[in-house]
């Protein structure tokens, strides 16, 4: 009664709701898992979940429709990995702009670089486009260790899966047999799926496309495509009107008609380029969850291959 006199009724109602909400938040603790795994990329979380099965709870700090180069180093990301057992970095400095802030901020000793819980997923990958000679930012925002978008080759995800199975087995020996079996099943499923994707792409071997960013070389190499150019004149540099015009003219002369862009890149510039070149701009998911249908790594490649086949067949 006294309280009601001091605190108005609507404020009391609000406080009650907030308190209830707070209780629910505390009660909604994550489901039990033997290993909590956090990753820099949705593709890595997807592979980790396949390999870990029911023993692992995997989450990615970067969302699939977010530019993996520019993830805001929010304190909530530090909080999200405070209790993680494993952190899987993309490596090759793709997450180098934000992970050095987020990882120490988590105050989680288990996942700091050099600790058993820190994984560089690029280990064992045959890295493409390693710069030779002097590395200079005059060439744009280049990656000195090579192209970090290796997750666009399905074969590379098999390497990641085997690597993660080893790590999970070391950290959780009780379930080692499951991790090994899951990785083997993943590799077999990927091999089968890859055979199908290669068959779908076969008629378009040698065809050229234009991508927004320099991130498609692994996919192109695997499926026999050629990269004609990029919407960005240099990595990380937004396109100028002159660059768009010159590239469109070159595309017309070479008969290149397909321009791809990710959900986090400037769709207008890509569409403008395609229109000038009498071609088609298609939005693609190069990362899991980049588009709603790309629910896991298999669905991502299903969607990617069908989108390209559809565009190249026109």
């Amino acid at each position: 009664m006294i309280v009601n006199r001091i605190i108005p009724e609507n404020l009391m109602r609000l406080l009650t709701r907030w308190s209830l909400g707070l209780v629910l938040v505390f009660a909604a603790s994550p489901a039990f898992a033997d290993l909590k795994v956090a990753t820099s990329l949705t593709d890595l979380a997807s592979v980790a979940q396949f390999v870990g099965g029911t023993h692992v709870e995997a989450q990615s700090l970067c969302r699939g429709y977010e530019d993996p180069h520019f993830v805001p180093a929010k304190p909530s990301l530090m909080k999200a990995i405070q209790k993680a057992d494993v952190y899987v970095s993309t490596g090759l400095e793709l997450d180098g702009g934000w992970l050095p802030v987020v990882l120490p901020g988590s105050r989680n000793p288990k996942i700091q670089q050099g600790q058993p819980g820190f994984v560089d997923a690029s280990e064992g990958i045959s890295v493409l486009e390693k710069p030779t000679g002097t590395v200079s930012r005059a060439e744009g925002d280049i990656h000195p260790l090579g192209n970090p978008h290796y997750y666009l080759d399905p074969k590379n995800l098999e390497i990641v899966a085997d690597h993660l199975a080893d790590v999970f087995s070391r950290l959780d020996p009780a379930n080692a047999a499951d991790y090994a079996a899951n990785a083997k099943a993943f590799d077999e499923r990927m091999e089968t799926a890859l055979a199908g994707w290669l068959k779908q792409m076969e008629p378009y071997a040698g065809k050229s496309i234009v991508t927004y960013h320099v991130n498609f070389i692994y996919f192109a190499d695997r499926f026999g495509l050629k990269i004609f150019g990029h919407v960005e004149p240099k990595p990380g540099i937004p396109p100028s009107a002159r660059h768009i015009s010159e590239l469109a003219e070159a595309m017309k002369q070479a008969g290149v008609t397909v321009v791809t862009y990710e959900p986090y890149y400037n769709a207008d510039a890509s569409k403008q380029l395609a229109a000038k070149a009498d071609g088609t701009a298609i939005e693609i998911a190069t990362e899991v969850d980049g588009l709603p249908e790309a629910k896991d790594v298999f669905a991502k490649f299903d969607l990617l291959v069908s989108s390209l086949v559809n565009a190249l067949s026109k």
Partner: protein
């Protein structure tokens, strides 16, 4: 005989580079060298109401070194070069092996508010808010000490930081008098921060801070503040759009005769908007009470005098990449010393910022 000697000398000389390389590789490996970066700032100012020449000046250069020391520590150093001095403004080690807690030891920038934790090139506006050099220092409170921050066990980011610092007298960079040489003078401070995600793209950050110590005058000197920041980064355009709405209040004073006497105080609030990948714009309003600033100079004696100042600023920044920007800023200030002296000030500033080498993301 001579030919044989010459041949021996030639063989010996031809072996030397190989030996030198072998020695260099084994003795002076650079594989574990720290990440190195250099930031340079150049500043031009045109202020017709000030008795200063117009022109472009070297503002500062900041050499940063960062590396893991061993499995337990990492070391971060920022050495600042200005036209007048070389200042090891931050050289601290931080623990990496304690769960939930991070301990920083060394010369550090105390965790106080938002503006007070920023390096000069990360200021949202070229000019620091007027209350800053009148309370904790234009670039925050920089002193030797120990800080521990605890990431608290709640579902959101809640951080409690506490620190103790070295007794430090008032100087050009530090307006807080913590200079008592008494044994019981251990300046201390704290910061309590909460950051929550409001949906997918917007965050709210609320903090309160305090610093206190005993001055050379024997009295306790204290600064306290509160900050509130809303920030939006669209997930599908994190490198092209976004906005930051923030405000901060800071006050400082002394405890004479057992009661706290608030002296300098002020607030500032700003809105920054990224309207294209390469373009940012911002506006800021601020009010400072009983503060000193270059606008308030006694017209007769030329001495600095205190008063109330209101200032509005607007700027636009061109950021061709993450490693450089050019900012143009305009500000208008009105001051009042309380005795009828009411100067105004208009100024235009241009700032050039360049970073080479390694530079991690700034604190969010």
């Amino acid at each position: 005989m001579r030919l044989r000697t010459l041949a021996r000398v030639c063989i010996a000389l031809s072996c030397m580079p190989g030996m030198a390389i072998a020695q260099t590789r084994s003795m002076y490996s650079n594989l574990a060298n720290p990440s190195i970066g250099l930031n340079a700032l150049f500043l031009g100012q045109a202020a017709p109401d000030l008795d200063q020449p117009y022109g472009l000046d070297f503002q500062s250069a900041e050499l940063s070194l960062i590396s893991v020391v061993d499995p337990y520590w990492m070391l971060d150093a920022n050495i600042t070069f200005t036209p007048d001095e070389v200042d090891p403004e931050e050289v601290w080690a931080r623990t990496t092996s304690i769960p939930n807690i991070s301990v920083k030891v060394g010369k550090l920038r105390a965790t106080f508010g938002k503006q007070g934790t920023l390096h000069t090139h990360a200021f949202p506006f070229v000019q620091a808010p007027i209350i800053m050099p009148n309370s904790i220092g234009e670039e925050g409170f920089k002193d030797a000490g120990v800080e521990a921050s605890w990431l608290m066990p709640v579902p959101w980011f809640m951080e409690l930081t506490g620190g103790i610092y070295n007794a430090m007298e008032v100087n050009d960079e530090n307006p807080l008098d913590f200079g008592s040489t008494d044994h019981d003078n251990i300046p201390f401070g704290g910061h309590f921060k909460n950051q929550l995600d409001i949906g997918e793209e917007t965050t709210v950050d609320v903090g309160v801070s305090g610093l206190s110590g005993k001055g050379a005058d024997g009295y306790r000197h204290t600064a306290y503040g509160a900050d509130l920041t809303f920030r939006n980064v669209p997930a599908r355009a994190s490198n092209r759009h976004g906005w930051i709405l923030e405000g901060e209040y800071i006050a400082r004073g002394t405890s004479e005769n057992g009661t706290f006497d608030r002296q300098q105080r002020g607030w500032f609030a700003s809105f920054q908007y990224r309207f294209r990948q390469r373009w940012w714009g911002g506006i800021r309003g601020e009010q400072a009470k009983d503060c000193y600033t270059d606008v308030l100079v006694d017209p007769v004696s030329g001495d600095a005098i205190s008063g109330d100042v209101n200032r509005a600023s607007a700027n636009v920044a061109w950021t061709p990449s993450e490693f450089s920007y050019v900012r143009l800023e305009y500000s208008y200030a009105q001051a009042d010393d309380g005795n009828g002296f009411k100067p105004t000030d208009q100024r235009v500033l241009i700032q050039f910022n360049y970073t080479i080498g390694y530079h991690p993301a700034h604190a969010y």
